[in-house]
Symmetry: C2
Subunit: 188 residues, 2 copies
Amino acid sequence: MARPREFDTDHALDGAMEIFWRKGYKATSLPSLLRAMGVTRGSFYKAFADKEAIYFQTLERYDTEVVSSTLQMLEACEAPQASTCLLPMFTQSGTADRGCFICNAMVEVAPNNPKVAAKTQEMADRLKEGIRSVLEKRKVGSSTAHRDELAEVVLHLYFGVQAMGKSGRVHEDWSARLKRLLMEEQPS
Amino acid sequence: MARPREFDTDHALDGAMEIFWRKGYKATSLPSLLRAMGVTRGSFYKAFADKEAIYFQTLERYDTEVVSSTLQMLEACEAPQASTCLLPMFTQSGTADRGCFICNAMVEVAPNNPKVAAKTQEMADRLKEGIRSVLEKRKVGSSTAHRDELAEVVLHLYFGVQAMGKSGRVHEDWSARLKRLLMEEQPS
DNA sequence: TGAGTTCGGAACCAATCAGTTCCTAATGGG
DNA sequence: CCCATTAGGAACTGATTGGTTCCGAACTCA
């Protein structure tokens, strides 16, 4: 019944995610957000409550789209060395110059938004689990506990790379670093 | 000549650094910034140009105060194990709940402010040098190149910890992790 | 003491902020 | 075909944004 939407919700959410990801929460004004979504003010408030609510929805979307595909990539990897599977997470080619949305949300939004804080932690935990699984499958490290510790270290390294990457730091050879970190290669 | 300042510039800068550190750049409104500095509008624009300029000055202050004292702490450390010296960087007790100002600046401000990007990279490099020096002094690792690599890894871990800490993640035993990372202890 | 200079602070500025109201257009069910 | 319901969008809200203007007060130096 009644008049149907003229815009595609998923497409609008993608636009919102893109601009929040690129410019951050505060720096994204409502007009620019609407432009990115291809939606007018009236429709926006009818369909998505308000700015804070849609930000959270874009986080959820990042989880189901970007994080999930990363996990699938890790799961599908058949390389003998764990470092080979994990390396794509350290080459920012996929995320271009926007960095990692989770990292941005953690630093800018999470401190004064408990829901965002909880969601980002949940996503980080999913990533860690994916990393842990890669290590487990290849029996990297000397025990389950050791693998868990290595996964935690790799996860923190990932966020460190993402944070520093936003200031334009060039990433050198993480392939070699990961290999040595995971003891797949002797230090030179 | 002429009327002297009624406020202390350093004290005002400290107030500015504190609020930028805690709330970020965009989220700090001018009124709240002035309140934190204990300065009125007129005096503010006469003494500090504008919001962007004073933000950069607080970054410089963070460098000369916080970063420098961290480096001194690393330099003065006489513990036999490098991990013991580096551990304080991973316990957020010093920075409380504000995280690391450099990390915040990298993620929120650097992408659209080249001066801030360059400054944060410079500070990160200073930190890395401090870490490298700690490792060098104790001959951690198998070579100078290997020590440099480990310093780079520890630096990235530091920023990862800071970023994730802002979402409230609890930090577990980095002491043990650092020990094993720097090969000062065998994995369990 | 007077001239010159800077400070402090209130008032003011246009622009922008997120969010609301309200009316018209479009649609599907009965 | 008509009515209930919802979308679209312009216009408007009050609050807040960062920044400027201006003037009297306070001070130093000659």
